[in-house]
């Protein structure tokens, strides 16, 4: 990589003392990126975009929000009615949470399909999971802030999860609440943490990018780049592609924000919190439904909580459960099948999480929970041993030795890069 020549004198002056422009040129401009990335590789930058949107809208919302049980709901309604463009900021923020999760989940499942968690990207994968956990905590606490019925009862139910911990559980819950029920101290600290955690996410995102840029992006073929002919400079190729993808993504985001802003919300959260009355159906936001389903499918309190956290935990050890030397599902005929089964399984879990826990829903929920863990703990280790991968291409530029078309982008409908 050659050192860039900056034309602007001030830029040169700064860069000589602090190589920030060289760094940016190196990491954002000439950064060599596999030339065969498909549109599923857009979702990392889309998630980054949503993080920025969430932080900026959140900062401006916080200027008009009051974290007090007597005023929180009113202050949100004042934002909706009286603050200039307040409704826009709030709907961008509320729907932004959903679209942030959409981007991150697609990003995560892309990683699963193409084996992006495998050596040497295990840390990259784990840092991504840390971001996911922080996002869930942030989203949960943010949902509490409007102090509607779902806010209050969601907070009550989720904080009560910790009471399952033996011996110290009750004390921990009291500590979380700052009292003997979800009340003003709880709301106050949730607001504080909801403001803090996004910046922790930014920090982990930096680490995530650091890990990414150490070995560069994985790609749909899943084999390493073998020289210049396999890669392209990030700018302008992937900046252009990311920006186009951003436009499409924003169309969906705006579509919901401006024309169905309450689609992802619950009517009950337009009722001010009432500690004396629990709504008939308590449901978490959609992005937490699968975990909620897992929690409810275990008849034991502690067991349910452990399994729910285990659902994320198992992803942390995924790089060591899947020992197959082949990354991309394209060359793993059986893994490709179980991958789609896992996707279906997660959707089923989400569907179960949205429904009351009785009758068939319990049975299906339990089966889906068992399958979820079996996928990671049984199927993947077995496949590592017994699956016979297809022959890998010699390099990204010379895609396939036989069979044809696998990396050409014309055969598979999902890869129209």
């Amino acid at each position: 990589m050659s050192a860039p020549e900056f034309r602007n004198g001030l830029v040169r002056w700064i860069d000589h003392r602090m190589g920030i422009f060289s760094f940016m040129h190196h990491e954002l401009h000439e950064y060599p990126t596999p030339k065969n990335l498909n549109y599923f590789w857009n979702f990392g930058s889309l998630a980054g975009f949503m993080l920025v949107v969430m932080i900026v809208t959140g900062i401006f919302l916080a200027m008009n929000y009051t974290p007090h049980v007597d005023h929180a709901f009113d202050s949100v309604e004042r934002i909706m009615r009286d603050v200039n463009y307040g409704w826009m900021l709030r709907f961008l923020h509320a729907n932004g949470a959903s679209f942030f999760f959409i981007a991150v989940y697609i990003h995560l499942f892309r990683g699963l399909y193409y084996g992006s968690y495998k050596e040497p990207r295990e840390l990259l994968w784990m840092l991504g999971l840390v971001i996911l956990v922080l996002m869930m905590a942030t989203a949960f606490m943010g949902y509490v802030l409007p102090w509607g019925q779902m806010s209050f009862w969601g907070a009550t139910v989720i904080t009560n999860l910790f009471s399952a911990i033996p011996w110290v559980g009750e004390s921990i819950v009291t500590l979380l609440w700052g009292g003997f029920s979800v009340d003003n101290p709880t709301l106050n600290r949730f607001f504080s943490l909801h403001y803090l955690l996004p910046f922790a996410i930014v920090g982990v995102v930096v680490l995530h990018l650091w890990a990414l840029h150490t070995h560069g992006s994985n790609n749909p073929v899943g084999i390493d780049t073998k020289g210049k002919q396999d890669s392209l400079p990030f700018h302008p190729y992937y900046t252009a592609k990311d920006l186009f993808g951003l436009g499409i993504f924003v169309l969906f985001y705006f579509g919901f924000t401006f024309f169905a802003p309450d689609f992802f919300g619950e009517p009950d959260n337009y009722i001010p919190a009432n500690p004396m009355v629990t709504p008939a159906h308590i449901v978490p936001e959609w992005y937490l439904l699968p975990y909620y389903a897992i929690l409810r499918s275990v008849p034991d309190k502690l067991g349910g909580v452990l399994l729910m956290f285990g659902a994320i935990g198992v992803l942390f050890i995924l790089p060591w459960l899947d020992r197959s030397p082949v990354r991309s599902a394209r060359f793993r005929p059986i893994y490709k099948q179980v991958y789609w089964l896992l996707v279906a399984d997660c959707l089923v879990l989400g569907w179960i999480g949205a429904n009351p826990p009785d009758g068939m829903f319990i049975v299906i929920g339990r089966a889906a929970t068992v399958y979820y863990f079996a996928h990671f703990l049984v199927l993947l280790p077995l496949l590592s041993v017994f699956e016979r991968p297809l022959p890998l291409p010699a390099s990204i530029s010379e895609p396939v030795l036989k069979g044809g078309g696998a990396a050409g982008g014309t055969v598979k409908p999902m890869e129209k890069a």
């Binding site: 009615r81 252009a240 009517p267 009722i271 279906a344």
Partner: protein, 256 residues
């Protein structure tokens, strides 16, 4: 898309993907039939005369028991009332203010900046006057129930005689759209309960339709602004995205 269908839709989407038979969660009361509201859809706007009539219905009927404390009299300007009319509505009520120089609270005529006067000082007082039932605040009612507007309309027009096998509890009324069917609110609308200045016949259905539209407006007064800006924003992003697509094609032309 109506927001209140969200959960059903999400669940439905999943079921559709899996081609599983999707059993809807059994609701107690029948689903309120959808009504043709003028404000639905991307370009839908509120019907101003209907909103004004709806406000009159609220003012003359509902406001005896139900507060709408998130509205101020100044908001009535948005319904198409002029400033004098809105100030007139405000001045009809006495608002508690103070303390004055003697430390006493006092009543004064309402102003545009005042919130709608509540019929009861607090929840306890409301329950005491209503046989133990609490008439909920209506400011957000259209959003606080699944398909809130259709539900409210169905509820207002859904009073029927109790089926013979139902034992009505004391002070309760039978409504086929209320969860549990027994509702403390007596049928609120009677034919010609309100006289509309524009000569619209004050049938129960007309009054219900207008007051529900008023509730829908009250739940989100910025809805029209939201959709207006939304159309512009979408068109803008659409053009920008088309342009970005052209740019992307150009940039990648040499690679493909």
């Amino acid at each position: 898309m109506r927001p209140a269908n969200a959960r059903m839709f999400r669940a439905g989407l999943v079921a559709l993907l899996l081609a599983l038979p999707f059993a809807a969660t059994a609701a107690e009361a029948p689903k309120p039939p959808p009504q043709p509201w003028s404000y639905q859809g991307v370009f839908g706007v509120f019907d101003r005369p209907a909103l004004q009539r709806g406000f009159l219905v609220y003012k003359q009927v509902c406001s005896a028991c139900h507060s709408m404390s998130r509205l101020s009299y100044r908001n009535l300007l948005q319904l198409g009332f002029d400033e004098a009319a809105a100030a007139g509505f405000a001045a009809e009520v006495q608002i508690a203010d103070g303390p004055n120089d003697e430390g006493e609270m006092y009543d004064r005529p309402g102003r545009l900046s005042d919130r709608f006067k509540k019929p009861f000082a607090n929840e306890k007082a409301a329950r005491a006057s209503n046989n133990g039932a609490y008439p909920p605040d209506l400011s957000l009612m259209a959003k606080a129930r699944p398909v809130g507007a259709d539900y409210s309309f169905a509820l207002l027009t859904g009073y029927i005689n109790a089926p013979s096998n139902v034992q009505l509890m004391e002070g309760m009324h039978y409504n086929k759209y209320f969860p549990g069917f027994q509702i403390a609110m007596a049928p609120p609308l009677a034919e010609n309960a309100v006289e509309f200045p524009d000569g619209t016949p004050a049938s129960i259905e007309n009054m219900a339709r207008d007051v529900v539209q008023f509730l829908a407006w009250a739940a989100e007064p910025k809805m029209e602004e939201r959709k207006r800006i939304g159309v512009k924003a979408m068109l803008f992003v659409l053009v920008l995205t088309a342009l970005l697509y052209a740019v992307k094609r150009k940039v990648w032309a040499a690679v493909h």
